[in-house]
């Protein structure tokens, strides 16, 4: 009888999945990026797992949990830190270079190590609106707009989740919830992809902006920055660099042109482009 009971318990226990979802499908994923704990110097930021619903996911056993957290979040969790049930909860991804990128020079990204629920700190220098990108996979980035304010001596950052529409898939264009200013991505050698979302004259499926992809509407006023079109519909184009310095760029919006200044530097032999 005892043997039968033991066998029963074993079969009962092994009927669960090792790691996976503990809830049904159909919910929207939690927001990827969350800001919290702001003080006079910084705000903490967590990047949640991608394409998962953290509170519903977890593992049955600690070993699998540790392995899975490493795989999904890039984190080394020591044994004994978490107790059963082994849910991901507020786990945030471990920082790695290129994971999160600020589009402005007044909002610096600083890695935070050792706190499982925090990925980076955002350190503002002034108030304003700044595009931020999160790398979700090798081929995809998710855009946010950080609205930076200060009240009672404390910074306050609200994030507008600015993702593309479902309709973008069937469209030649990529639509966003909101327009955003020129955002230059990490350069690869002398080439830097960039994004710019222009406000639509009328909302399209509830979205108010479209990624401007006509390279002829970007006009650098210097001879060391050239613009090339891109095959990807997720970027506006590519800056091809042949020198450093400040470069004024005219962007021909439909209504009237807007102007930005690019500050092109070389750090450790690598081009960096920041907006002034």
């Amino acid at each position: 009888m005892i043997v039968a009971f033991a066998l029963l318990l074993i079969s009962f226990g092994s009927s669960f999945a090792a790691c996976g979802s503990y809830a049904s499908f159909g919910r929207s994923p939690d927001h990827l990026l969350q800001v919290f704990s702001c003080d006079s110097k910084k705000c903490m930021v967590s990047i949640r797992g991608v394409e998962i619903f953290p509170h519903d996911y977890g593992c049955d056993f600690e070993d699998e949990f540790i392995e899975d957290v490493k795989k999904r979040f890039g984190r080394d969790v020591p044994k004994g830190r978490y107790n059963a049930p082994f849910r991901y909860g507020n786990m945030a991804r471990q920082y790695e270079p290129g994971l999160i990128r600020s589009g402005c020079d007044f909002l610096k990204v600083e890695p935070v190590y050792g706190i499982d629920s925090v990925t980076v700190a955002l350190k503002p220098k002034k108030t304003g609106v700044c595009p931020i990108s999160i790398r979700e996979s090798n081929s995809r980035e998710r855009m946010y707009l950080a609205v930076v304010n200060k009240a009672m001596g404390r910074w306050n950052i609200t994030l507008e989740h600015n993702h593309e529409t479902d309709e973008s898939y069937e469209s030649e264009f990529t639509f966003f919830e909101l327009p955003f200013p020129l955002f230059v991505k990490q350069c690869e050698a002398d080439r830097c992809d960039f994004m710019y979302a222009e406000r639509l004259p009328f909302p399209y499926k509830g979205r108010k902006a479209v990624l401007l992809t006509n390279e002829q509407r970007f006009k650098p006023k210097c001879n060391f920055v050239k613009v090339e079109s891109s095959d990807s519909k997720n970027v506006s184009g590519t800056f091809v660099l042949s020198g450093t310095g400040r470069c004024r760029i005219q962007i021909d919006e439909r209504k009237e042109p807007v102007y930005n200044v690019l500050n092109v530097k070389k750090v450790d032999g690598q081009y960096q482009v920041e907006l002034e």
Binding site: M1, I2, A4, F5, L8, F12, S21, F25, P29, E51, S137, R140, H163, E164, T165, D166, S168, Y169, E170, S171, E172, F173, T174, L200, P201, F202, Y204, V210, L212, T213, N214, R217, K233, N234, R254
Partner: protein, 402 residues
């Protein structure tokens, strides 16, 4: 020991309850057509692609649509379908069926049921009325997770690709064509896609013409076959003037039909110019209310749904051949206006809307009800909620005998 026995009995009861729950999962088959089977169990996406026995296949979206229409009682489970896409926003978006509807899902890591449909050869049927066709069963170039064993056409390079181990592999630079040119028929679907289209069972017998180079293909037994170049009647541009009313407009003759290639500009009660500006009327015609049906001159009429469908059959649904080259807010890469020249002239709905982005025309549906056909530069749609709205008018007539 007594306690242990009680726990044991409790566990046995719990197990038997679980078995009863599982028993509910057996799919009712009474209403299922004989050529459909429903294997027990749940499957991951990868398992589902190869779950059906020899001679059966995982039904695609078209087959499910047909099943839903003809089968009264469909068990309310989620079923994988073989229609899916890999997109920019939804990296792994997989179609599934539940509640008599077909959905796309963000992730493909869950487990769902599987239905299998018997393989059969089908005659080609028109499915041009499915305006939402584009955007379903195709896959982006250079992506994985394709449909095992199916052949894909790359519309940009005319290459033929085979799906093996969920990855597309190029097997030929282009298809061999059966003949130089082929008569274009009404059941041909025109696709101006930059992606790849698999030959699935639901596509069996369907003819496809690429809008880019007018190559025609036909889908049989999971393989694409090259037919040839589409032989099309050239369009003719013309001009019409009604001597009685003075109404005049440019025209375009497409096969057997003649369309006004401009929006109508005729004074009638209730008509108006966009933003009440005469300039808009002169450039883009007038906006009309529901008395629109009287606006076309004698011998001409408002277009019917079937007229639009014929037009889409010739030029595709994405409008690359139909929209104007100017005035659109979005910078379209392809602008091949054949003379139909659709401007984004907006419409009126509690205010002037959509200038630069959309436009719309009065039309009749199959039951002669007045509705609006809308166009946003990339795709056409229709709208029955037309009360108190104003749209433009295109007129159409049978091509006059020469």
């Amino acid at each position: 020991m007594k306690k242990l026995i009680i726990v044991f009995v409790f566990l046995l009861l719990a197990c038997s309850q679980e078995n009863r729950e599982n028993a509910k999962d057996e799919h009712p088959k009474a209403n299922a057509p004989a050529d459909w089977i429903f294997p027990n169990g749940s499957y991951s996406w990868g398992e589902a692609l190869n779950a059906c026995p020899e001679g059966y296949h995982l039904p695609d979206k078209f087959e499910w649509e047909n099943y839903i229409v003809h089968t009264a009682d469909i068990p309310n489970y989620k079923y994988w379908t073989s229609s899916y896409h890999v997109g920019y926003m939804k990296e792994y978006s997989v179609a599934y069926v539940q509640d008599r509807k077909i959905y796309s899902e963000f992730a493909y890591d869950g487990r769902k049921s599987v239905a299998c449909k018997k393989d059969e050869k089908k005659e080609a049927k028109s499915f041009l009325d499915k305006i939402a066709f584009t955007g379903t069963a195709f896959i982006s170039k250079n992506k994985t997770n394709c449909l095992a064993g199916h052949k894909y056409i790359g519309f940009e390079d005319n290459g033929l690709y085979l799906c093996e181990n969920r990855t597309l592999k190029k097997v030929a630079d282009s298809l061999d064509f059966l003949q130089d040119s082929v008569e274009f028929s009404a059941d041909t679907v025109v696709l101006n896609l930059r992606r790849m289209l698999p030959c699935t069972f639901g596509m069996n017998g369907k003819k496809i013409m690429t809008g880019v180079n007018r190559y025609m293909y036909q889908c049989y037994d999971k393989n694409w076959h090259g037919l040839g170049y589409a032989k099309l009647n050239p369009v003719q541009l013309g001009y019409y003037k009604d001597s009685l009313t003075g109404v005049h407009f440019k025209t375009i003759i497409i096969d057997s039909m003649e369309w006004s290639s401009q929006n109508i500009y005729r004074s009638m009660p209730g008509e108006e110019c966009y933003e009440n500006k005469k300039m808009h009327c002169e450039n883009h015609g007038r906006l009309y209310g529901e008395n629109a049906r009287e606006a076309c001159p004698a011998d001409w009429r408002l277009p019917r749904r079937s007229d639009w469908v014929t037009l889409f059959g010739r030029f595709g649904l994405d409008g690359a051949y139909l929209r104007s080259k100017d005035d659109w807010f979005l910078d379209f890469k392809e602008n091949k206006d054949v003379g139909f020249t659709i401007y984004p002239a907006g419409y009126l709905d509690k205010g002037y809307k959509g200038f630069g982005m959309v436009t719309g025309w009065w039309s009749y549906d199959d039951e002669n009800r007045l509705y609006a056909i809308l166009f946003d530069g990339e795709k056409f749609s229709h709208d029955y909620a037309v009360e108190n709205k104003k749209f433009y008018i295109r007129c159409v007539r049978k091509r006059p005998e020469n």
